[in-house]
């Protein structure tokens, strides 16, 4: 058991190294570099840029170094805890990310709670009352939720919130609370805006989670131990929650590995459409402008979180499911 965990942790290092190389390479792969996007953005406004100036700037940002030198500089900084500076924002990368982290995590956790709180009970209900009217209607809603693209749903809800509730379009705060310090009024304002991203981000995962829970639970309910327990007269609810539901939640737990990076990355498209200052749009912009230190650091951070998340879900599974525990012990 202990060995297994140690082995898992040690494997993280080479994994991350490969990821860092790949992500750096991918960011560098498109034609041009940060300067080309900087200059083309300037040209859009009508400014003219001197060819000599471009060369001088390229030297200054060390963009004319070979790629492995640039990689080495970046990864060396990372190991010393220096994430580098964003070209575009001219700010340290850490400052940019942490500025947006709070809101991102708030939205993601709110979404997660929403998803679990609706999907698990509905999934259980649907499984227990299979082919009932309730099951059918939840199935229908679930499929609709899966089918609607997030950005469209976001636009519709944005229209609704503006037309019916008169809230300002996009963002998480009304203009008057934007720079205000935290107060009850600001919190209520946040709640007023928060429901849209939570519902938009939540529906599709709720829908799929309902299906997963329902399917798994149905499998479990057909097993003989359930019948036996029933025959022995175990109360319905207690029987349901103690055995079949616990097993049925296995896939949910193994998904936690993917949930962790999602909490930090935010949903990019939805955030862009809704104008929410999470880390998602920041990453998108950094990638588009080849702001390589910012993009690279964010990709790295997401990878670390994925790896850690996978580890956590493994550990949770071991704790939750005796079968996995015993299998590993017997080896």
């Amino acid at each position: 058991m202990f060995n297994l965990i140690i082995k898992r942790i040690l494997w993280i290092i080479p994994t991350l190294l490969v990821i860092s190389m790949l992500s750096f390479l991918l960011i560098q792969l498109p034609p041009g570099d940060y300067l080309t996007s900087y200059i083309s953005a300037l040209e859009e406004t009508g400014e003219t840029v001197d060819a000599e100036l471009v060369e001088a700037l390229r030297k200054r940002y060390s963009l004319d170094d070979p790629i492995y030198v640039q990689y080495w500089r970046w990864i060396g900084g990372l190991l010393r805890g220096n994430f580098g500076r964003s070209f575009e924002w001219n700010k340290p990368v850490t400052e940019l990310i942490f500025e947006r982290l709070f809101l991102t995590v708030t939205i993601s956790i709110a979404t997660l709670i929403f998803v679990y709180a609706t999907a698990i009970p509905i999934g259980i209900y649907s499984a227990v009352n299979q082919y009932s009217w309730g099951d059918y209607s939840f199935t229908l809603i679930g499929f609709v939720g899966l089918a609607i693209p997030n950005f469209l749903f976001a636009l519709i809800l944005m229209f609704v919130s503006d037309a019916i509730f008169g809230l300002s379009v996009g963002g998480l705060f009304s203009p008057e609370y934007q720079n205000a310090s935290w107060s009850l009024a600001k919190f209520i304002d946040l709640l007023n805006h928060l429901w849209i991203p939570v519902i938009v981000l939540g529906t599709s995962s709720t829908a799929s989670l309902i299906r997963v829970v329902r399917g798994n639970l149905l499998d479990e309910l057909r097993k003989l131990y359930v019948v036996t327990a029933q025959a022995k007269g175990v109360p319905k609810i207690r029987l349901l929650l103690k055995y079949p539901v616990r097993v049925a939640l296995n896939p949910v737990v193994s998904n936690i590995g993917w949930v962790l990076p999602q909490i930090v990355s935010g949903s990019i498209i939805t955030s862009v459409v809704l104008g929410i200052p999470t880390t998602g749009p920041l990453l998108l912009r950094a990638l588009m402008n080849q702001d390589m230190y910012l993009a690279g650091s964010m990709v790295m951070m997401l990878s670390v979180l994925t790896v850690i998340g996978t580890l956590i879900s493994d550990l949770l599974l071991i704790w939750l499911d005796p079968r996995i525990r015993y299998e590993n012990q017997s080896r």
Binding site: S40, T48, A51
Partner: protein, 719 residues
Amino acid sequence: MKTDPSSITPPNPIFKYLPTTTSIGLRFAGIIFGLILLVVVLSRLTWTLGQWGQKQDLQRLAATLNTSLQQSGLPNGVVNSAFKPLTKAEFDQMEGGVHTVGEWTGEREFNQSPMLDRLMLGRQSLPPVAERLPADPLVIYPPDQNGPYGGLWQRYGTSAPDVGIFRARLAYDGLVRWGPMAQQILPNLAVKWEIADEGRTYTFWLRRGVHWSDGQPFTVDDILFWYNHVIRNPELTPTTPREYQRDGTPMVVEKVDDYTVHFKFSSPYGLFLKALASGRSYPMVEYPAHYLKQFHPDFVPVEQLAKMAEKQSFDFWYQLFEDRADWQNIDIPRLWPWILKVPPPAQQILFERNPYYWKVDEDGNQLPYIDQMSFQIYDGQIINMKAMNGEIGMQGRHLQFDNFPKFKANSKNRGYSVRLWISSGGGSALAINLNHKDPVLKSIFADHRFRKALSHAIDRRQLNEIAFFGIAQSCQISPPPISPFYSAKYEKAYTNFDPVKSNRLLDEMGLSQRNKDGIRLRPDGQPLHIRIEIASVFLSTPMFELIAKQWTAVGIKTDLKLEARQLFYTRKSALLHDVGVWGSADELIPVMDPRWFFPYSAESIQGIGYARWFQSNGKQGIKPPPEMARCMELYQQIERTPNPDEQVRLFQQIIDINHQNLWIIGTVGRIPSIFVVKNTFRNVPEVAVSGWIFRTPGSTAPECYAIDDQAKSEQSVLH
């Protein structure tokens, strides 16, 4: 160990999961049938709704366009002509509606914003307003009314660097400024100026006693610091901008006294004043010497600077210096009407009034009227929605012309108006790469008949209908009618749709052989195939799809490639494109940026190789053909001529050569620029001239804009 679940009857059937086998099949069929029905109904519904919506859209579009055309109550029916470019005579007759400037002659009795009264009652100690203002403050006569003070101006940007246009387009405080109608250059930090020695010496007299926003005096020494220690420092400015040098010799900046400065050039320079009015004089007053000296190696030991830089995680001292001089620094003193209070990366970037601002209105009220300006960061689409929702104070940036009908439709309910300002440019340019790497294509492109044939092959009326609701004008890339450089002949040259003539020209060129698909064959027997490349910033791609079709119709197989602007940039720099598309460049004053009249800079994508030759005085690049070289010569002559009329005369010759050669193919243009203005805003002109070289809305003096909430309540009573 398989058990048929249906064979076991639980003692107490609490779980209804055990359906009989027959009902499974039945229900399955039922579900499938239901789903099919749902799909059919939904698709039918969306189809009908879509049709209906389109019809509604078209009807609404027509209605809004009509009402906007019928609107009256404006001087000389300006809105009527906003879609039809004004002629020079009509334009000159327009009066009023924009601000004018003057000098303060009255007693030194001045008023300030109540916000500053409150601040001075509190902890902050400020000298009285009369002491903060210079001896000779600039007077701005607002177009509508004086004041009132106060309010927050809400604007939006797409990123923090995008908000940086504040310094150019909203502060725009250099020595001189362009006027709101772009016809004259107005005094600003300079009270007056003089051009001597046939344009070799420019003398500027500055306002006496202007203060930086921290109360320190602004003098010629600050300009000297900027020139000697920033522009002439090779690490801060690797190459001296073209406007500050003549034939490779940098200008000399001389201090006469604290408020008089000479700019001296080695040879006559006729465009310097215009360059200063556009973009070259506000950077020179953005470097307060008393603050920035502490970050400069000419004043502080380099080792000490290196340590300071390292502490802020910079590698070099100049990065620290640039960071301190950047607009995002809240500690640096400024001369702007509003100074930065809440810097990025905040979601809402806030500017607040500068208590030392050096302009007043005729009643002696210190400007600006508006206390605060805020920029929120959103995606461009959201900004357009914010505009439709009436959440914008006054803004034109990021608003898309395609949305004009929607802006118009919402304006009544949401309490704002849509202003159409005269644009200084003229639509998109199709630039054929004269420096193409393929020798066969290059020789075809070099033939003026080919370019004229392509121009005649375009049905501009159709483009206009598709992309601009039919309100644009067919034109080559040429100065608009209100420009002193206007040429009616060149504006409309080769713009009529004439496929017969187009085919004839191509046949005459020797491209008469065609393959079985009707595509003309090149001299080497290959089918003639060209590609239009567009950077994805351009939104009206349907227009270029049409052009590709129309060119294919005259036997030149054309396709369209949309690419990320970085890729576009890389490809054009490497001379890899066949035909590139880019917007016009303020042809109203074409001498400022003549990129479309001959290969002038790296943005002249018709001949970047020639442009390199021009920029390097023949040392690099490709030698241009004689007519093009003649244009370059004429332009250099203009650069040496301070007399504006002589500049116009010489530029007409450049236009004539363009008329013969047609190096650039124009499409449709003269589209007005859209601005959305809240009804509470005062002193925003109904019509002004808009363009990058005038830094609009900077040229309309945003410091005299005011927010009048009284007016709002009156209007809501009316509706």
